[in-house]
Amino acid sequence: MIRWLLRRLVLSLITLWLLATIVFVIANVLPNDVGRTILGPFAPQESVDALNAKLGTDDPLPEQYVRALRNLVTFDFGNSFQSGRPVIPLIVAAIGRSGLLAAYALLLTIPIAIAAGLFAGRRRDRPADRAIVLAGLTLSSIPEFVIGTFLVVVVGVQLRLLPVLATPPPNASIVDLARFLAMPALAMAIVYFGYIARMTRAGTIEVLESDYIRTATMKGLTTGQTMRRHVLRNALVPTVAVIGVQIGYLFGGIIGVEKIFNYNGMGQLMLFAAQRKDIPVLTAGVIVIGIVYMAATLAADLIIAWMNPRARAESGR
């Protein structure tokens, strides 16, 4: 187990390094003049040059690359080109908000989705199942910004049930927070319902066809008992994996939703930074998102290992 964890850790580090490299490449793939982008086309050239010199964006690429890596190691990504503020706090704040929203969305969706998945799996090919599958398929294939817009119009504007913006007043109470984030969270929840429900259904069906369920049935267990004692644990393994991955992505921010609800999460931050070639923010952002993703998947794997001793044995080896 320990060896396995260590291995995972090393691999993650390599991945992080690759991430940094990827961002660096993306940011420098075109000869672009950061200073010019920041100051705009109407700024005098000398001030542009001055800015570039100040930011070090006129150094030769290798030098910049080395600097980027050094930042990665020291985990100090300097200041934002744009606001001149230290990057890490910005990122942390943003990813915190994205995380909050993600948690909310998953809280809404996971129980329902899993329940639906199990139910559908048990009622395989019956109308109920078809309905759930179709709903899941449809919902998870409609882009979230579409769902978001509909929610805004119907719930927010026409019915005026919920605030249309996900910007809670500072120091808002939990209740307020819940109210303000309700709609974006709902939008995401709807999208993720599909993924999770379908995954759970697949898992359930696979397990239901397995020999050990036959054993259980032959013992004379009731469906309920079988579900609880034998199906659940095994069927949820793939679901957990999926949720792990999706959490990773959710922290990355669901830009479509964030844009519509003007929620200042990771997505908007990154978009803003990209538009203004704010390379420190970009790099740090991507790295942090990467870290969260890896943490999430690792957590998922650990849970799976805990759920399934055989997997544990494998990872032990």
Binding site: L11, I14, T15, L18, L19, I22, V23, I26, A27, V29, L30, N32, L134, L137, T138, S141, I142, P143, E144, F145, V146, T149, F150, V152, V153, V157, V164, G248, Y249, G252, G253, I254, I255, G256, K259, I260, G267, M270, L271, A274, Q275, K277, L282, V286, I289, G290, Y293, M294
Partner: protein, 289 residues
């Protein structure tokens, strides 16, 4: 001789089986519906102005007319007929998305073959890169790249395609790894075939199935992605009547009750993606049967 006769009826049996599974496919309502919807959009995209009730580009009525007998879907902010624009709105995305999907699946398959076949170092290295890409949301990376590169149809295709590559690669890799366990690969090695030959001629034909399924799935995601990118302003560029773009141009007006220029393109996107997913689903269930 007995063996021969059996071979024959086995063979006819096989043909029958194939016919039957096709029948099953066409008996699946999901598949039919999906196909129908997709076909409809394809027709609209191709026929274009020839069948739209109005000129979707140069025919300016009053802005934001609500749906009415003349304009079934109403008019947009500049007074163009929404129905006409939605009809031909499929054009760009139906070119961009398939290209991106094909690009991604082709590259991904190549990568997956190599990774799956030469395990060891090669696999480890490539896997790292793949993992790295997978650890970021596709939309996000696409967005960053497009903002930096500046978006044009070609760039969108390339970026989306490349971002799909690792995902496809992972699927294909898995398929190849199960395949390479099989004895016929060993047999090929025993008669001294080169790795390249084994990959290309022995394994590839047998992983084609999953690849095809993957292609349809990716196609769906491509539309999803391109629409989202257009919505974010880095995808397909104005003055295209592209659905995602239309939504982004008009969605703020929904607040003032002008929902029609947003709703209809949005529905179009949904219908298209759902259609493809239905098809993919049917294919998958049949191929797994």
């Amino acid at each position: 001789m007995a063996a021969t006769t059996t071979a024959v009826d086995i063979r006819s049996e096989r043909a029958k089986a194939r016919r039957e599974s096709r029948a099953v496919l066409f008996r699946k309502p999901g598949f039919i519906i999906g196909l129908a919807i997709l076909a409809m959009w394809a027709v609209f995209a191709v026929a274009g102005q020839a069948i739209t009730p109005y000129d979707p580009f140069n025919d300016f009525a009053k802005g934001h007319l609500p749906p009415n007998p003349e304009h079934l879907f109403g008019t947009d902010r500049l007074g163009r007929d929404v129905l006409s624009r939605v009809m031909i709105g499929a054009r760009d995305v139906l070119i961009v998305a398939p290209l991106a999907a094909i690009l991604g699946v082709t590259a991904g398959s190549l990568l997956g073959l190599i990774m799956g076949y030469y395990r060891g170092i090669v696999d480890d290295l490539v896997s790292r890169v793949v993992e790295a890409f997978l650890s970021l949301p596709v939309i996000l990376v696409a967005l960053l790249t497009l903002v930096v590169l500046g978006s044009s149809t070609l760039v969108v295709v390339l970026v989306v395609g490349i971002l799909f590559t690792p995902i496809v690669a992972r699927t294909v890799r898995a398929a190849v790894q199960t395949e390479r366990q099989l004895d016929y690969v060993t047999a090929a090695k025993l008669r001294g075939e080169s790795g390249l030959y084994i990959m290309a001629r022995e394994i590839f034909p047998n992983v084609l199935g999953p690849i095809v399924v993957e292609l349809t799935v990716r196609f769906g995601y491509a539309i999803f992605t391109v629409a989202t990118l257009s919505f974010l302003g880095v995808g397909i560029q104005p003055p295209s009547p592209d659905w995602g773009l239309s939504v982004s141009e008009e969605y703020t007006n929904m607040i003032s009750g002008k929902w029609w220029p947003t709703l209809f393109p949005a529905l179009a996107i949904a219908s298209c993606v759902v259609a493809i997913n239905l098809i993919a689903d049917a294919l998958q269930s049949v191929s797994s049967e």
